[in-house]
């Protein structure tokens, strides 16, 4: 025992000088490395925008609230309530007293003004400040639109703020097409609906006379591919979002076509076609209607999704015995399996950034939404529930929306979104049941 104590003492004496004094006596300034920070929502303040004209106060209030809602909804920001504000912004052009905002720990400040013009136009101006740096971030921006489109103006303001603060591409000014569901599970009525990304402005694209499935936006957001049982068999339709006009895209007797998705060039559609009990992947040129077979295997190949550059396709196949994910060249060819975890993988979707693939995984009686690298590495499961499926990416590749179904005969389906970090899982409000979401690109 005594020997041990003396040994420890000797070690301590040897180590003490090193602990007490940093041995790196480099010339020049003191250098330190910081590797661990904190992860918490960034506190910001957004005083109600100033109404520059008499009739603008209502718009100012509504637009301010939508901007704040967008930012708060990301889980990345925390709004400091107006009651805590020390300073009041009464003039958009007057200088900001940063000390007042520092005092309440507002790290970002958004100020804005709204004015109405004749013919129902609204003009919104805003500025974003880095409070602690005491300077403006970027330049002030002014947006104009119609009163009917006030939400889009608000979303665009929020997009600008979001991008400047996070460095991510924006996604608030986008829409989601989905399958609206109503009625019990055994007699459920489904129809296509479209809404803003936050669940507002819902409108319906089809009626409920026939079963519809899996709508998919075109790269420009002006068209939607979907599968309908209108003819009694599943057929692929293409629908113009503006005119709501639709037409059959693929119709061969004795076949079933489904799971369509646009190529990034918008000229090509890839889909699954079942003929003689065998399901393979095909591609079709929309203009000519000419189709090409991409796979030729006795197994089921489905759920294709293009990479952002259009050079590859990720899809689901059970050729190994269980549904797994594979990648192959866009023109067909040898496929490479990328999923090797336990369980069944399906509905892969390539991220708009190109770095990740989102998928549905069934394992041990539960469903998950997960992401993995395009080589199958770094698989991360973001959710777990009775039934999660059908992921779709936000235009910036930072958020995933999917549908979740609750258990039981009265179980309902609804839409959820989750950050790719796995945080900020939340339900997207819809007027009724909803499934199969497809996120549009950012609106122009």
């Amino acid at each position: 025992m005594r020997y041990m104590l003396s040994l420890l003492a000797a070690l301590f004496m040897l180590a003490a000088p090193a602990l007490a004094q940093d041995t790196s006596e480099d010339d020049g300034p003191l250098r330190i490395e910081i590797t661990e920070g904190v992860i918490e929502p960034l506190p910001y303040a957004i005083p109600t925008f100033v109404a520059d004209t008499a009739g603008a106060s209502e718009w100012a209030e509504k637009i301010t609230r939508v901007v704040a809602s967008d930012l708060n909804g990301t889980g990345l920001f925390r709004e400091i309530p107006a009651e805590a504000h020390i300073a009041r912004i009464s003039n958009f052009s007057s200088p900001v007293q940063f000390s007042d905002w520092k005092a309440i720990n507002a790290q970002a400040l958004i100020t804005g003004s709204v004015r109405t013009e004749g013919s129902g136009r609204i003009v919104v101006s805003f500025r974003l400040y880095d409070v602690f740096a005491g300077q403006e971030m970027g330049q002030g921006l002014q947006l104009a639109g119609t009163e009917q489109g006030w939400r889009r103006i608000a979303h665009k303001v929020a997009d600008q703020v979001y991008s400047r603060l996070t460095g991510e591409d924006p996604y608030f000014d986008s829409r989601v097409v989905f399958v609206s569901e109503s009625g019990p599970k055994d007699a459920r009525e489904k129809r296509l609906a479209i809404m803003d990304y936050d669940g507002t402005n819902v409108s319906y694209l089809t009626d409920s006379s026939s079963l519809v499935l899996a709508p998919r936006f075109s790269p420009q957001g002006d068209q939607v591919l979907y599968t309908s049982y209108e003819s009694g068999f599943p057929r692929i339709y293409v629908l113009n979002v503006e005119t709501v006009g639709q037409r059959v895209l693929e119709s061969q007797d004795g076949t079933m076509s489904f799971a369509p998705r646009f190529a990034p060039d918008r000229q090509t559609v890839v889909y699954s076609l079942t003929r003689g009990g065998n399901t393979d992947l095909y591609s079709m040129q929309i203009g000519s209607g000419q189709s090409t077979r991409l796979t030729n295997a006795p197994s089921i190949e489905t759920a294709p999704s293009f990479s952002p550059d259009g050079s590859q396709i990720v899809f689901e196949s059970d050729r190994s015995g269980t549904p797994q994910l594979y990648i192959m060249p866009a023109g067909g060819g040898e496929a490479q399996r990328i999923s090797f975890g336990q369980g069944r993988y399906g509905t892969p979707v390539w991220s708009p950034r190109g770095d990740l693939i989102a998928f549905t995984k069934q394992s041990k009686g539960r469903f998950h939404i997960g992401v993995m690298r395009t080589d199958g590495s770094e698989e991360r499961l973001l959710t777990a529930s009775f039934l999660d499926e059908g992921p779709t990416w936000a235009p910036n590749g930072r958020v995933i929306m999917f549908s979740r179904e609750t258990q039981g005969a009265q179980g309902s389906t609804s839409l959820y979104s989750v950050d790719i970090t796995g945080r900020n899982l939340k339900q997207v409000p819809t007027p009724s049941g909803a499934s199969d979401p497809s996120w549009s690109p950012l609106q122009k």
Binding site: P29, I34, L42, P95, L143
Partner: protein, 382 residues
Amino acid sequence: MNTGQIISGAGHAGLIFWALFGGAFSDVPPPNEVTEVTAISADDYAALMAPEQSPEAVANVDTPEPPAAGEAPGMTSEADAVPETAQPEVTESSEPDAPPEVTEPDPPAQAEVSDEPPVMQPPQEDTAALVPERSPDTQPREAPRVAPEPVARPEPDVQIDDVDQQETAPDENAEPVEEDQEETAREEATTEIVTEADDPADAAPSRSLRPRTRPTRQAEAEPEPEAEPQPAAQEPQQTETAAPESPEVDENAVENALAEALGGSETQADSTPSGPPLTAGEKEGLRVAVQQCWNVGSLSSEALNTTVVVGVSMSEDGRPITASIEMLGSSGGSNSAAQQAFEAARRAIIRCGADGYKLPPEKYDQWRDIEMTFNPEKMRIK
């Protein structure tokens, strides 16, 4: 007497004997504890356990039936009229607000004080270099604020003062003494300046260390003395240590003191900080203080892959000088990602340094300029 003692002794002996062995003759057994056990039949047991079985999942937890969907509003979905994101209108209209920021509280006094010291030189009042001790100030004019503090600090000055005192005795050699006075006066001035910013009392230790920085200033002042023959002769002594001059013991002491003060300047021109480096604990304290405010929660995934090196200059009270914060370099991401990472780092430095980082003031030269590397490797999405 004997009787009493005998009785007492017998009594105590008996008492002790009883205490030791009295209990041994007791044959009363200790009581046994009895626990009643009841038998239960298998049926009863099953009956008891039945309710504990996991409740069957009640599949039908009434979920509110979704409200009947209303009629499709005419299938017509008019896309919102695209709000003209009037890019042409992009308002530079917003002229960057003239930052009304109250410019940082001026600590300008320092500059003035530091410059003035030369005025001090005239005091050929042959006075003892000891001025610091008694002198409410050798230089009352220049820094009336400074003056009071130095007086309060006897200890640090004591060393120098001792030497000077001895020299004062030989007032005859006024020349060397004068030179000493000049240097000591400057030292005091610097230390005092520091103390002004903080607490005068606490600055005492810092004075003794600060002299090291002086060298640079003295180097500037040297040209003046060069004109005079005597100072020029002394300089060589300072540079090559006091050893060469052996004759005068007292002078050696003074020279040694000067050599200590000037030692740093000889070897290093300007930039290299002098004095003892920060200990690992002090650096760790700074690191922890900054990382508490380094919020990467709102950073993009690309910014989370970007390491940035940020340079910052500190004021003597431990607060970062906002305008001095700059990105010195980055790696791992695009320029925009680096900018995001830098802004997060800047916020961290400013926020947690608002009240001043706890850094040893006597080592100010060591942390006057800091390079912080913000490496988010551990903060990335896992």
